[in-house]
Symmetry: C2
Subunit: 206 residues, 2 copies
């Protein structure tokens, strides 16, 4: 989203370094054990500091969870922002490639696990819900603008959501079906995305 081009003092740099040390450790533990079985002791050990010290940077474990959700959501949003620069005619292809390719990597399976955890938490914790909805709205706005103004299509909001259905649906599918044949899937996925971005969708010839 908006950014800080403000330079940082040494102390501030240190502080943000420590914070991302903690977040990296927390993310790792959360993937491995889930939000609520990952103990502060484990997180602290992985971040190479004492448990007590974490409380100089975060008010509570909940605050760490919120920060993780925020960071991961922001990263996902960033990834979507790349589509902005893509040529209109190739959008479906590029998005398909990115969806499939990013998912074929181990790191993104882990990312998916974190996403599941986040979405579950989202229905219980209003603060988490707020963070997730904020980032989702941002991504949607970007994509809707692309579809409406660059591609000149109607039903832009609905098409946006349909595109995003493909992304999260694919991630979900890969967790449930470990034998998924990506080779064949990618062909159908590309055509499906192209169909979603075709002017005739939503205007059925009867």
């Amino acid at each position: 989203m908006e950014q800080k081009p403000i330079p940082m003092t040494g102390a501030e740099k240190r502080r943000t370094a420590r914070i991302s040390q903690i977040l990296d450790a927390a993310a790792h533990c959360f993937v491995e054990m889930g939000f609520h079985r990952a103990g502060m002791a484990k997180i602290a050990a992985r971040a190479k500091m004492s448990p007590g010290h974490i409380y100089h940077y975060f008010e509570s474990k909940e605050a760490i969870i919120a920060a993780i959700v925020d960071r991961e959501s922001a990263r996902a949003a960033e990834r979507f922002a790349e589509f902005d620069a893509v040529d209109s005619t190739e959008l479906a292809s590029v998005m398909t490639e990115r969806a499939v390719q990013s998912i074929a990597e181990k790191t993104d399976i882990l990312q998916s696990v974190l996403n599941m955890e986040m979405l579950a938490e989202c229905q219980r914790n209003p603060e988490i819900a707020c963070i997730i909805h904020k980032h989702d709205r941002y991504v949607r706005d970007q994509l809707t603008h692309l579809i409406r103004d660059k591609l000149g299509l109607d039903l832009a909001e609905a098409r946006t959501d349909m595109m995003m259905v493909q992304f999260s649906g694919l991630a979900n599918r890969l967790l449930r079906n470990p034998d998924l044949d990506l080779q064949n899937m990618v062909v159908l996925m590309r055509q499906t995305m192209m169909a979603i971005l075709s002017p005739t969708l939503g205007h059925e010839a009867k």
Copy 2:
């Protein structure tokens, strides 16, 4: 899947009643607090029995989680089995309606939360993974048979997975975007599903 037409004695009936009492209570608590923050005390209270007594029916809390995952997966599989009886020409429509309608209900939002929790756990606990993959394979086999043998389409496995991408993707989307306009979505979703089930998909006219 296969079933037991065997009649039950009074004692057995009681036993299964108690067990589903526990599972209902557990499911409720798991949705509300997640697998690992839901304490046995809370589950016991909701099931109207003592914590200790639960251990007459389940070896451990892990066993309850496994049982919940199994039950919920089996229920999802049952719901998919209904599509078996649907007329070929209407499959896409019926599946769309079912996906959208089932998701528009509050209960299915809660079901989605449980699904997220399950999928996250699936990547950490091999026993859970096994249960989930088993049920997913069952659903896929049903649907693939439908697509290949009733609709006479090629690429049946890939089309199956694409259909399932739509289902889980839609559930996911609704959690992330609470403002989702189902009215417009349903139109695009139906056409997308029809495209996935059209013989021309996968055989692009260049």
